[in-house]
C-alpha cells in the first residue's frame, strides 16, 4: 500500500515545485525585483544653456531623489519629450543666482511637459522646494541689509541656512492610531512575504491533491475499500506526508527569509497563527476532496478562493481598504499584523 505513497515522492515535478521554484524565487527573483523596483523612476531633463554653477548645485540636490532620474543637458531639445522618452523638461533661465538675489523670482524656469505627463508635478514640487529656500534667504538678506549696515549680504544669506540644516526648523511628527485611541508606530513597512508564502503553499496543495484525484480516477482508492480502513490509511498517509513536506518547506523558507536583510521578505507576525492557517488550508482541501468529485470543479473552487483571499489580504496590507470582521472568511487576512 505504501508503494502508492512512494510513487508520490518519486514524482520529479513535486521536488521541482517544492525546492527548485522557491530557490529560484529566493536567489534570482527577489534580488532582481527589488533592484528593478528601486530603479523604476521617472525620467526628467534639466536644461541649462548658460552652464551656471548654481544650476549644477540644484541638479546635484534634486538628483538624489530615488523616484526620478534626472539628466543634465546644455541644450534645449524637445524631441525626447515628443517621443515620450522623458516626462518633462525644465529649462533654467540665465543669471539664475543674480535674479534670485535681486528678488526677481518669477518665471525663472520654463517647464515643458506633455499633456499625458503624469508625475512631473511631483518633480516640480521638489525643484520648487529646493529653489524657494534660496529665494526666501535672498529676500531676508535684502531686507536686513537695507536697514542694517553691519552685516553683509552674504553673511545674512548664509545665516538663513542654519534653519534648514541639519534638520529643518519645522518638522511634523507623524503617528498612526487605530481609530480607537491607540497609538502605534508609523513608517513600518508592511511585509507581504507571509501572504506570498501562504498563496504559494495554497497553490502547491492543488498539486498535492492532484495525486488523490489521480488515485481516485484510476480506481486505487476504490480497490482499497475491501481492506479494512484501507482507503483511510492511504488518505491519512497522504495527509501526513503532505504536511511533512509542506512544513519542511515552510520552515526552510522562513529560515532563509530571516537571513535576508530586506524589508520585503522580513518576517512579521506570529508563527503559530501561520501554522494554524496552513493546517486549516489543508483541512479545507481534504474536505473539498471528499465532497467534490470533479477535479476541474475542485481546481476552480480552490483557485477562486485562493486568489480572492490573497488579493483581499494584499489590499488590506497595502492599506487600500480597511479591515472588516467579515473579511476574516479569507484565511490570509488572519496573517496580517
Amino acid at each position: 500500500m505504501f508503494n502508492i505513497i512512494q510513487s508520490m515522492i518519486r514524482t520529479k515535478a513535486l521536488w521541482v515545485i517544492v525546492l527548485l521554484i522557491p530557490s529560484i524565487f529566493f536567489l534570482i527573483l527577489i534580488p532582481l525585483t527589488e533592484e528593478t523596483a528601486s530603479e523604476v523612476s521617472v525620467p526628467i531633463v534639466i536644461v541649462d544653456e548658460s552652464q551656471q554653477s548654481y544650476v549644477q548645485e540644484v541638479f546635484e540636490e534634486v538628483s538624489q531623489s530615488e523616484a526620478f532620474t534626472v539628466y543634465y543637458e546644455q541644450e534645449l531639445n524637445l524631441d525626447e519629450l515628443a517621443r515620450g522618452e522623458v516626462e518633462a523638461v525644465f529649462e533654467f533661465s540665465d543669471r539664475m543666482q543674480e535674479k534670485i538675489a535681486e528678488g526677481d523670482s518669477d518665471h525663472l524656469i520654463t517647464w515643458h511637459r506633455n499633456e499625458n505627463s503624469m508625475f512631473d508635478g511631483l518633480f516640480k514640487e521638489e525643484l520648487a522646494s529646493t529653489i524657494i529656500k534660496d529665494v526666501v534667504r535672498a529676500e531676508a538678506a535684502n531686507m536686513v541689509t537695507q536697514e542694517h549696515t553691519d552685516a553683509t549680504w552674504e553673511e545674512v544669506y548664509a545665516h538663513g541656512l542654519q534653519y534648514f540644516e541639519p534638520e529643518p526648523i519645522f518638522t511634523i511628527d507623524f503617528r498612526a492610531y487605530d481609530g480607537q485611541a491607540q497609538v502605534e508606530d508609523t513608517n513600518e513597512q508592511a511585509s507581504f512575504f507571509p501572504l506570498i508564502l501562504w498563496f504559494y503553499t495554497w497553490l502547491m496543495l492543488i498539486f498535492f491533491v492532484n495525486f488523490l484525484y489521480k488515485w481516485r480516477e484510476i480506481g486505487i482508492l476504490e480497490r482499497l475499500i475491501p481492506i479494512s480502513s484501507g482507503k483511510k490509511i492511504v488518505v491519512s498517509a497522504w495527509f501526513i506526508l503532505t504536511s511533512l513536506i509542506i512544513f519542511a518547506f515552510l520552515g526552510g523558507a522562513i529560515t532563509i527569509s530571516n537571513s535576508y536583510d530586506s524589508a520585503f521578505i522580513s518576517w512579521q507576525g506570529s508563527f503559530i497563527i501561520f501554522c494554524i492557517c496552513i493546517v486549516l488550508s489543508l483541512l479545507i482541501y481534504i474536505i473539498l476532496f471528499n465532497y467534490v468529485k470533479s477535479r476541474y470543479l475542485f481546481a476552480s473552487l480552490v483557485i477562486f478562493y485562493g486568489s480572492t483571499s490573497f488579493v483581499m489580504a494584499l489590499l488590506i496590507q497595502s492599506q487600500l481598504i480597511h479591515d472588516h470582521p467579515l473579511y476574516k472568511i479569507f484565511i490570509p487576512v488572519w496573517l496580517l499584523t
Partner: protein
Amino acid sequence: MIFHLIHYEWKRIIQKPLLFIFTLLFPLALIGMIGFVIYLSLGDEITNINITVNDEDQTFETEMLISQLESDETLQNHLTFKRDHHQSVESLKAEEEQNAAIVHIPENFTEQLRSGNNESIIVHLNQQLPFQSQLTYVLLASGETYITAAQSGVNTVNHYLSDLLASDQDRSNWIQQLTVHYTFLALSRNDLFQSTSNHETNNLSWNQQLYLAIVMILLLSSISLYAFLFKTNELKEQKNRLHTIGVTDRVQLVSKLVHVSLVACLFLFFYAFIIPFAFPFNVPIQVGLVISWMFVALWIAGLLVLCEYFVKVSAMSTLLFGSIGFITCLLMGMIIPPMYLPETLRSEWVPFDLFYAQFVSVIVGESIAWDRLGGMVLMVVVMVLIPFLFTRGKSHV
C-alpha cells in the same frame, strides 16, 4: 488533420462550458472586485478629507501655520480643517471617527520655533481611513519644506533687526507682518515656473496605459487558467496513438498553436472590446487596435506552446508561462510605460517595445505603424519557429 485536432479541442471545451466560462470570467471578476472594493472604501470621500486641529499654543504664528497648510495650492481642494482646541487629543481620536488626521500643536511651540529650536507638531493619522490618512501624510509632508522656508526668513530678519524696535508690542506686530510676508513668498513657489504643454505627444495617458495593463493581465491570467484547467499538454498515450495513425509531431504542434491562438484571440477580443464599453477608457476601437491585439494573442499563444513543448508537467509549464509572460509584458511596457523602466531593461536587441510603440501609434495617432507591424510579425514567427525546428515532420512508424 489539423482541422480535426482543433475540432477535438473545441469539443473538449464545449463539454465543460462552465469551466470555460470560469476561465474567461474569473480574472475579470477578480479585477472588477479589486476595483469595486477600492471604490467602495474610497467612495466620494477622497474629495473631502477632514482634519481636526488641536492647538494648545493658540498664537498668531500657529494660526498662520494652519492657514499656511490650508492655503497651499496642492492641498486646497482636498482638505477641510476644523479647529477644536478644548478637547484632548485622546478624546478627539475616540469621538471624531470621520477624521483622517488630528494635528496637535503643543504648548510653547511658537516660542521654541522663534528661538530656532526644533520642535515638531504632531499629526495623528487615522488608520481606519487608510487612504485618506495616507493622502494627508503626503500633502502635509510637502508642506514641511515651505513652512520651514517661510520661518527661516522670519527668523533671519528677526535675528538681525529685532533690536531696532523698542517696545514688545511693536515687535510682535512686526513679526506678524513678517510672517505674513514670508508665508506668501514661500507659497508663491509656482510663480517660479512657466509651463508650456506640448500637445503632440507620443505617450499614453494613465487611462490608456491602465487599459493596456488590465487587458494584458487579464489575458495572461485567463490563458494560464485555461492551460492549467484544460491541460492542453497532451498525454503521452494520446500522442502515441496519434503517431500510429500517421499524425506527426509537427502537425500536432501546428494544430495546438492554431487552437491556442484561437482561444487567446477569443479571450482577448472579449476583454479588449468589452471593457471599454463598461468603463470610460479613452481608447478608440478601430482596425489598428484589433490587429495589434491579434498579434499579442499570437505571441502569447506561441509562448504557451513553447513553454509546454519544453516542460511537460502542466502545473510547471503554466507557472513558467505565467512568469515569463508577466516579465516580458513588463519589458514590453504593457504594464508600466517603458520610459519608467531602468535603462538596463530597455534592451535594443530584443525589441520588446515594438508592441508598445504599435499601441501608442494606434491609440494616440490612430494609424498603424507598418514597420513595427513587420517587426511584430517577425517576433511571432521566431517564437513559433523554435519548437517547430525541434519537431519531426516525418511519421515515426
